[in-house]
Amino acid sequence: MTNEHIDSSTLIDYLHHELAPGQDVLVHAHLTACTECAGAYEAEARLTEALRAEARAAERELPLRVENHILTGIAGRPIPAWFQRLHILVRPAIGLPAAAVLVLALALGFASLGSHTQHAPTIAAAYYLDAHAALSNRSLPFAQTSVVPAALDNGTTNAGNASAAIAANTIASE
């Protein structure tokens, strides 16, 4: 990547965070070393910002009162009576495929019974605390309260997602 300049579609994808993380890192590394591509990136960034500013100026947000009303409406929507739900389920279009799936699932379930014990999944408390911090930080002013990034503090990574090492020459000077 160091010797070849980045094409404009890759640059635009990078700008909009559309690249896969591995490619994103490579492009980032290249831009820190290649002034020509960095210049092209700056030009694209300015254009994007100008378009966003134009869009923001024309944007009309849904009033918060309306949003709240919708949320309250969803929370308070009536739940159908059990016989109404049963009536829907026993219609042939739904009932027959559902029965077939049920039979298959039971067969598979019995087959696997005893071979291993399934544990209920758990979600780490840190996931909730970090997700709260991340969404607060990007959505609100002055919200940042994470003393260090979770990625450094507890080394949280998705197992199996490790990819190849960044090539040695990707950040070499031109």
Binding site: V25, L71, A75, H132, T145, A150
Partner: protein, 342 residues
Amino acid sequence: MTLRRVLTLLLVLAAGAHVSAAPAQTDHTAFALLHAAAEAPLHVSFVAQVELLTIGSHGSDASIFRVEHRAPNLTRRWYLAPSNVYGDWTVSRGDSTYAVDVKHHRVVVTRHDAFGVHFGWRHNLALLTRNYAPILGPDAQIAGRRARTISLVNRYSGATTMRLWVDAATGLMLQRQVYATDGSLVVQMHFAELRITNDIPISTFSLPANYAQTIGPSRSLPSNNPARAMAESGFAARAPRFLPEGFTPVAADVGDEKGIRTLHILYSDGLRTISLFENARGAAVDMSGYHPVALTVGPLHVESVDRGPTTLFAWSQGNLHYALVGDLNREDLEKIALSLAQ
């Protein structure tokens, strides 16, 4: 009633009205300064040393880091403390962060988890100023520079929730203090040194060669339409019937953690935040590494942990599992939890 008594009563009433109305007034100079502070990182490049402190009732955390910020959105943080991250650094580009873990020779890439400089806080200033009155205070000296002080006073309670010290010359936020409802300090961010410069080379933000690259905690792109996120969650999600005054839903996402579809809605009054997580799989919360406390909140059996000033409540009801996270006092969190049970 004598004329003197009537006049005295009128004076007392007028004084009372002044005290209760004062927080509702907007100081237009303070408001302009707040806007300037929101815009400053977009056009001011600087090198600084920053101290960040969070104080909880069960423990506190602190970090010290060097910051190189190249406007508008490239930021490098190099950690001096605590010792477990000493020498590590992060490079943030907008809301993507590359965390360079020197000890493990790896770069952790995280999307939608901004660790730059005050990123994104321009978007909800309207909500903040609807619920908080910005009031100018006396000037101060921070990092050897003249700073103007803004207190953000809650329009309902009259309590000062945050105080900012903004560089008079550039608009950069040099110090920030957050206070709990009892007035105690819970967060402080402080610039110990600052140098404004336009000469930060782009190579400052380069990443080390030959480091393994791993994907950090996955975060989906949040929606600013919580109602739609609720509808798309795939289960009958519930919304709290009680929220503290001024709070409203501001963002949401529906993510899959360990294959469990989880709805996350962020509520805020512009400064304080609460996250409500819901899933229909009854997935328990793993609290290992923390000191959970069992609480009885009405009919609910709640487990609670604290991290700095932030509290996590977790409980199940019916086929739904809830996690409520926020930096509010325990009484308000309990009221929110109870309102979901009604």
